[in-house]
Amino acid sequence: MKNFFTIWFRELSACFLSPVAYVLMVVFLAVASGTFLLEVTQTPVLEQPLTVALFEAILVWLTILVTVVSMRLFAEEKRSGTLETLMTVPVTEAQIVLGKYAGALSFLIMVTFPIAITLALLVAVSPSVQFTDLDTGALLTGGAVLILVSSLLVSVGLLVSLLTRNQIIAAICCFCAVWTVLLFGWIITLLSGGAVQVTMITVTDHIRDFSRGMVDTRPLVLYVSGTVLFLFASVRVLESRRWR
């Protein structure tokens, strides 16, 4: 357990040791809030609640953020050889995977969180919007589902990062994998020519529902079990080095 926290802390602090973290934070805040503000201010009649517009804007940019954060998790360690030093101290593969995962996820949450400021910005630029117009409950559930989606996507990215030592390959594969996960239900529907309607595993639908304040426990199970599956696979992949 101690090792897990040590690796977690190191992983999180490593993000802030390089300028990458600060650049990511600023750029993400700018593009995600820009997308949101544009949508809200340029649409004559907003047909969906503010929170839906906000969380959809975040989700689009979140895919890139996840890619950037998770591509280096293992690919970088493999390339620089530090994985060798990490794997020769008394630390289990599960501790390494979970520690790195927790580090990446907590960093991701820290980067996405400040976007709440955008709402205050919105109130400032458009006199017609009041703070009381915001549905706090929907904001919280939307935030919760965003964390769930992030945790699934980071676990996917971590697995991809484990499979290569090249960061570019990791980034491209990770980006594709993340979108595949996001659109999985939609892809199945499309491939079956509309015969099979898969809605339960479409992430975009969940975001829409949750950010309207609709809490459904079924997606919760999906995200938690999906995350566990990918993390388990990651631990196995890392272990496989020892029986190959």
Binding site: K2, N3, T6, I7, R10, A14, L17, S18, S80, G81, T82, L83, E84, T85, L86, M87, T88, V89, P90, V91, T92, R241, R242, W243, R244
Partner: protein
């Protein structure tokens, strides 16, 4: 016995890196691991450190099976990989503290060990610096400090003095020699002189096989070929001196060459004969003058060349260690 390797084999697709080697290392021994590039040194060390799995054979470190009890093994070792991979964005103390924690240290003991390794590896002045800004030599020392921090039973150092300047090499060499009092050290190196000075025992590996294993002194003794004594003599003609030197029973060949007023004479004898004294007697009996008399020492470099070069390997020391037949 702290390291026990039995019939270790490691095969990569299309390439056998380590081919059925066996050796062991006793506690408090400093063992030098020599071999040309690509001989299987690093692979063997990675297997010992629990980083790579073996294809076949049995490896024990401190009584633990490297494959089945990997975590127990890793608690016993400090491993310094070949290219000294470090997190270049961390500060020296940050990195060492992180590594110390992973190795199970904490609290006052971690602080004490940190102080101690910073001191012994000469890092006190740079402990606040970011590793990425350090020179190669300092990075090497950070890696060494990392391998020492948890006071492991066994230190596995893969070329610890590469990229250091002569002063740093001397410091590290002294450090390693000092380590031998409390730790067991397995040291891979290219610098034969260093191995000769530091190690109690030498393992030479070539083509995935151990071709020699003994103390540096004994290995030198195993060398084939004649001993050569050099003498600088004044007083006789070259022909005369050569004739009289050749008359010494054990001498198989003698040559004399005039260099100014002095004659530079080489006498060769069979390995088992020490002829320096005989040469002196001949000089004294003839009333010549003698300026220099010494036997040319052969060193580990000669051993290394003999057992690892293609044409010599098969019938040199290889035969004496009894593992030559299996070479592909």
């Amino acid at each position: 016995m702290i390291v026990d390797v039995q019939n270790l084999t490691k095969r990569y697709p299309g390439n056998t890196a380590v081919d059925d080697i066996s050796f062991n290392v006793q506690r408090r021994e400093i063992v030098g691991f020599l071999g040309p590039n690509g001989a299987g040194k690093t692979t063997t060390m990675q297997i010992l450190a629990g980083y790579l799995p073996a294809t076949g054979g049995h490896v024990e470190v401190a009584g633990y099976d490297v494959f089945k009890q990997s975590l127990d093994v890793r608690r016993q070792i400090g491993y310094l990989p070949e290219n000294v991979p470090l997190y270049t964005d961390m500060r020296v103390t940050e990195y060492l503290r992180f590594r110390g924690r992973l190795k199970g240290l904490g609290g006052a003991r971690l602080r004490a060990r940190l102080e101690s390794v910073l001191e012994s590896c000469g890092l006190t002045d740079v402990h606040r610096q970011i590793i990425g800004s350090l020179s190669r030599g300092f990075r090497q020392r950070v890696g060494l400090a990392d391998s020492l921090i948890a006071e492991p039973e066994l230190l596995i150092l893969d070329e610890p003095t590469v990229g250091l300047d002569p002063n740093q090499i001397r410091q590290i060499r002294n450090l390693i020699r000092g380590l031998g009092e409390r730790h067991t050290v397995l040291l891979a190196s290219h610098i034969l002189h260093e191995v000769e000075m530091v190690c109690n025992r030498v393992l030479i590996i070539n083509g995935g096989q151990i071709v020699a294993s003994d103390t540096p002194g004994k290995l030198v003794g195993l060398l084939r070929g004649n001993r050569r004594v050099l003498a600088q003599i004044r007083g006789g003609t070259p022909q005369n001196v050569q004739r009289l030197l050749e008359a010494i029973p054990a001498v198989v060949n003698a040559s004399c060459e005039a260099q100014g007023e002095w004659l530079q004479c080489y006498c060769e004898s069979k390995k088992e004969h020490d002829i320096a004294e005989d040469v002196f007697r001949v000089v004294a009996a003839n009333g010549w003058r003698l300026r220099e008399l010494h036997e040319e020492r052969r060193n580990l470099e000669d051993v290394f060349a003999e057992v690892t070069s293609e044409d010599n390997g098969k019938n040199g020391l290889l035969r004496r260690t009894g593992s030559g037949e299996k070479r592909a």
